[in-house]
Symmetry: C2
DNA sequence: ACAAAAGTGTTTGCATTACACCCATGG
DNA sequence: CCATGGGTGTAATGCAAACACTTTTGT
């Protein structure tokens, strides 16, 4: 028997992916398209976050994990529930109303929003059934529902979180250069960082481990590769209580 | 006409209050009590967070604000939505099931949890219709539903948040001593802080303003009183991008 | 005068910032 | 040999941490 959907509670997923070559932070969005059955007029044509209404027997985390699994084929990604959105008018645009009627959901749906961090190269979008596509977080397409607001809040949370937790490495390949990490911080935070100071800082961390390997296939001096060791990080981690107000 | 309640979505409020004299961080809880109509047997006797199911025409923030207003008579308190709880088995204890049947809610309710910070002395519990009572966050009574878990997560969030934002002053009277602030940090974080270093740090902040006033009615040397100026804080605030991973 | 809590300075080390040039490699 | 990006060192500053005694007041 099919599990019962709860029609007024959903989970939406902001999937962040970093493109190491273009140095852009991207969000994975799916196409929303609907034509009138009679006139072939285009009724809805935009993008939305991936998301599902929750099932009766499912935790919120489960729903989010399921959504990502179906979108990307991947599980055990970094995931964070960051906020619930429940304004009564969040789905009341004309387009959204048409869409909702078509899908049979409740127009007063509260959504629990998650964000995911993902190594872009791990996703194969070629044979994706949702026409999923990456968009730079700073240059989003037209979005349905209140999804633009959701993405921006996820992004704010990510900006803060990446300063104090080593989640940045979720967005990079397993082997990376110090400059990759710097570029990524710069993309996320929108700031410039001094390269010498940044290198020193990172290289001094015991959980940033130099490999016996250098870049290959680059047309200039190949850079030293490093990996991040979560084990070492967890071992040496200690909470600090620095009050900085 | 009465607004329509949504039976499977609620808001729960963790209300933190600090007792300056006892130096304890407390949570405001309400009594949950039910006797069997026939045998007078006590069916439910414990405490829960204050919370409401949301109305059709209400934002989540509105519901939270309404709950606090009815509980304490106060509005415009510091409020933070910190997490949604939606496990399918979060309300399945026997006691909880009895209670839910009595109240007519859905056993699969997702709750959006908020926490509030409040100056304890601003609340008058004497004539409170909910038998609300303060409990130390480190010594909670028996709690219904999953409310203990909710309180603990709120507390974790508060611990982190108070390190980087000046929310601590929401828990103190308008006029406070430096040692009050230190005691409060110590209560929240469960650590000891060096008094000389802490004083220097605080007194150097431009938004900690010394008043032409000292404590009165204390039986020892009266301390200098200070106030917190949010205006000054907002003016001099600047985001820093210190990466500390 | 005594008890209790308020208040006060200095030193040391560490982390952050600012800053400019040489090096190694592939083409 | 040259263009490109990788990689390197030092000095100045500011902040945090450690640490113990004197002062003020009310009783």
């Amino acid at each position: 028997m099919k599990p019962q959907k709860i029609k007024n509670i959903s989970v939406d997923c902001v999937v962040f992916g970093y493109n190491t070559l273009e140095k852009t932070l991207n969000v994975l969005l799916i196409k929303r398209y609907l034509e009138s059955a009679t006139t072939a007029e285009v009724l809805v044509d935009d993008y939305v976050l991936t998301g599902y209404h929750i099932n009766e027997d499912e935790t919120l985390d489960d729903t989010a994990t399921r959504a990502l699994k179906e979108l990307t084929g991947l599980s055990s990604l970094y995931k964070k529930q960051f906020k619930a959105f429940g304004s009564p008018d969040r789905l009341l645009n004309d387009k959204d109303q048409i869409w909702i009627k078509n899908e049979g959901f409740n127009s007063r749906t509260v959504t629990i929003a998650y964000y995911f961090l993902i190594k872009t190269e791990a996703v194969n979008l070629k044979e994706n059934k949702y026409s999923a596509k990456w968009f730079p977080v700073n240059n989003l397409p037209e979005l349905g529902f209140d999804h633009e607001a959701i993405i921006l809040e996820a992004y704010e949370d990510l900006k803060i979180k990446c300063l104090s937790e080593p989640i940045i490495f979720e967005l990079l390949p397993n082997k990376f250069t110090i400059n990759d990490v710097q570029d990524l911080y710069q993309s996320i935070l929108g700031i410039e960082i001094d390269n010498r100071n940044f290198r020193r800082k990172l290289i001094n961390k015991k959980y940033i481990i130099p490999l016996d390997e250098k870049q290959v296939g680059v047309s200039k001096k190949p850079a030293q590769l490093y990996m991040f060791s979560k084990d070492v990080y967890d071992k040496i981690f200690e909470k600090n209580y620095l009050i900085s107000i």
